[in-house]
Symmetry: C2
């Protein structure tokens, strides 16, 4: 038995296809009694509109925009590449994807960018700063019916449709567990470097890391966080200082970007193998360092997955179809030398 069509539903409900369509797409006022009849028929026949046919008929373009930080952060470059790649693929399916770069560290600039694009797109995916000004702009977009998803870093109080990214506190805990186990039984200091403590994801990772570290591995002394501004040169300075100040440093967790700086500092100090170093995001740099043993573990969120997930979410939001939660959960990937993809 083939799938039910709109016609079947119309017949079953004793109404015309036009009316079924009106009910399905809220096109015009339909008497409640009729609506109910139609809905009953739909349930009865287990009707599901054919999305392929619907999209063909609507022949509507989906217009989405990705907003990423400007600058040359390695992971953000990966994300941008993923966006461009998907943009190409999705072009076949009438999905137009623009990519914009902006200073996401400035709430005002990011807010203005968000305000400006209102009306141009059906949906927006943004790596956002958690700040009232930004929240305001996000809410304004939602108000006007634009679907908004936050990417990598969330803005919790806002009306964003969805957050596409990992649970950063859990990522921090994961790092701590691995750090603790790798340093099993040893005593010494563990350093923590973040990009900026005004970035929500960094703070959350730090929180998770400290939480597990303090409770489960009291033998390890956690040093106060230092900020590296996600800039490898600054990070290198910070790391070098840390290594210099603490000859008994045996662990290092870099919550943000700037892997290159840490690798540099470790090599300069000749302590690559003495320090267990856990970094975030699998980039060319970290992949290399992982293979040669300078980095022991990389915690990653798959850029390609995130972009595809964001697109799927924006699309279902745009045509009001449900999403499959399980499919849109971004995993916390752990990489050691041997399971690099």
């Amino acid at each position: 038995m083939a799938r039910a069509t709109i016609e079947d539903v119309a017949d079953a409900a004793g109404v015309s296809v036009a009316t079924v369509d009106r009910v399905l797409n809220g096109r015009a006022a339909v008497r409640p009694k009729t609506v109910e009849r139609v809905e009953k028929a739909i349930r009865l026949l287990n009707y599901q509109s054919d999305r392929l046919a619907a999209r063909l008929a609507r022949s509507k373009e989906y217009r989405f925009c990705f907003i990423l930080p400007e600058g040359s952060n390695a992971y953000m470059t990966l994300l941008a590449d993923a966006v461009r790649e998907e943009a190409l693929r999705m072009a076949q399916e009438k999905v137009v994807i623009d990519l914009r770069h902006t200073d996401v560290f400035s709430a005002d600039v990011l807010g203005q960018t968000l305000d400006k694009i209102s009306g141009l797109y059906d949906g927006v995916a943004a790596v956002a700063l958690d700040h009232p000004r930004v929240r305001e702009s996000i809410n304004a977009l939602c108000e006007r019916g634009v679907a908004v998803v936050t990417l990598v870093s969330d803005v919790p109080g806002s009306r964003r449709t969805h957050y596409v990214g990992i649970d950063n506190a859990a990522a921090g805990r994961t790092a701590a567990t691995l750090m603790g186990r790798y340093l099993a039984g040893r005593r010494g200091k563990v350093g923590l470097i973040a990009g900026s403590l005004s970035l929500r994801d960094h703070v959350e990772r730090q929180f998770g890391f400290e939480q597990v570290m303090l409770h489960e591995y009291p033998g390890l002394t956690l040093l106060p966080v230092r900020e590296g501004r996600d800039d490898w040169q600054i990070v290198q300075g910070v790391a070098a200082q840390l290594l210099h100040d603490h000859p008994d440093l045996i662990g290092l967790y870099n919550v943000g970007a700037g892997t290159r700086g840490i690798v540099g500092a470790l090599e300069a100090a000749g302590r690559q193998r003495q320090v267990v170093y856990i970094a975030h995001e699998l980039t060319d740099e970290s992949r290399r360092a992982l293979i040669d043993g300078t980095i022991d573990i990389v915690i990653n969120q798959d850029a390609g997955h995130e972009v595809r997930s964001a697109i799927r979410v924006l699309m279902s939001r745009t045509d009001r179809s449900p999403i499959v939660e399980a499919m849109e959960r971004i995993r916390i990937d752990i990489y050691v030398r041997d399971n690099i993809p």
Copy 2:
């Protein structure tokens, strides 16, 4: 500028749409010169057929079959659930998915099953045994134009379209690296339990594990593999024996199923915390054990991903469209207590 349609191509090439269609779908003989003209127009306009419209027009059902082992192996149950779930979702897109269980450990039975279904399906995904008899049947299916993908366990010499699963040797190496690091500096014995040494994936994992273990962690003594037949009761016996024979056992890697048996044995011996235990596949059982600390690490391949990947591959194979390699690479997931999804 909107996307080019078949009509645009026809105009550009100075032929009729019928001819363009003949070229595109190899429907009838077309003079080489004409073919070339059409192809040139296609390139010029960068034409890509609208897959939505094509599938709608063809209104053809894709018929696929998944063949899984019978029995109650926890991971296979997860796989089966994933298949059923996807079957439901894909039904909306005119994809019919059947699920069959068979004794995949017997080459003859599996081979016969494969032979029998020839002609009923456009594609088959099977958890297959690497055996000449099976290879034969797979090749026969391919010969008749049925797309075949191997799932979880590969059959290398065969003509299967694709292998959907992880690199098992790499998984074994990953386990070894984690084992080595978790046991950093300690001396003692490490046990290895496999389901069956006639299963390709198990052998490969063992190979990878031993390779890294022997080279990188000479302080650890690797005990000879024992077989547990993927049955938790047998596994429990094997593990208990192992624990009894070796009071200095400090590591255990279970390459196959039967986690429940090992957990049972460890608990019975009261040595949950003394032994670093690495298991495969995230099931309810292993998740629980991971959280309470009996299992230290789970190496997993995502059942949902594998099923979806297999379906995507079968579909593109069926309508001769290319696949995105990067998207179909199944990752080796590492789970500790803190990053369980």
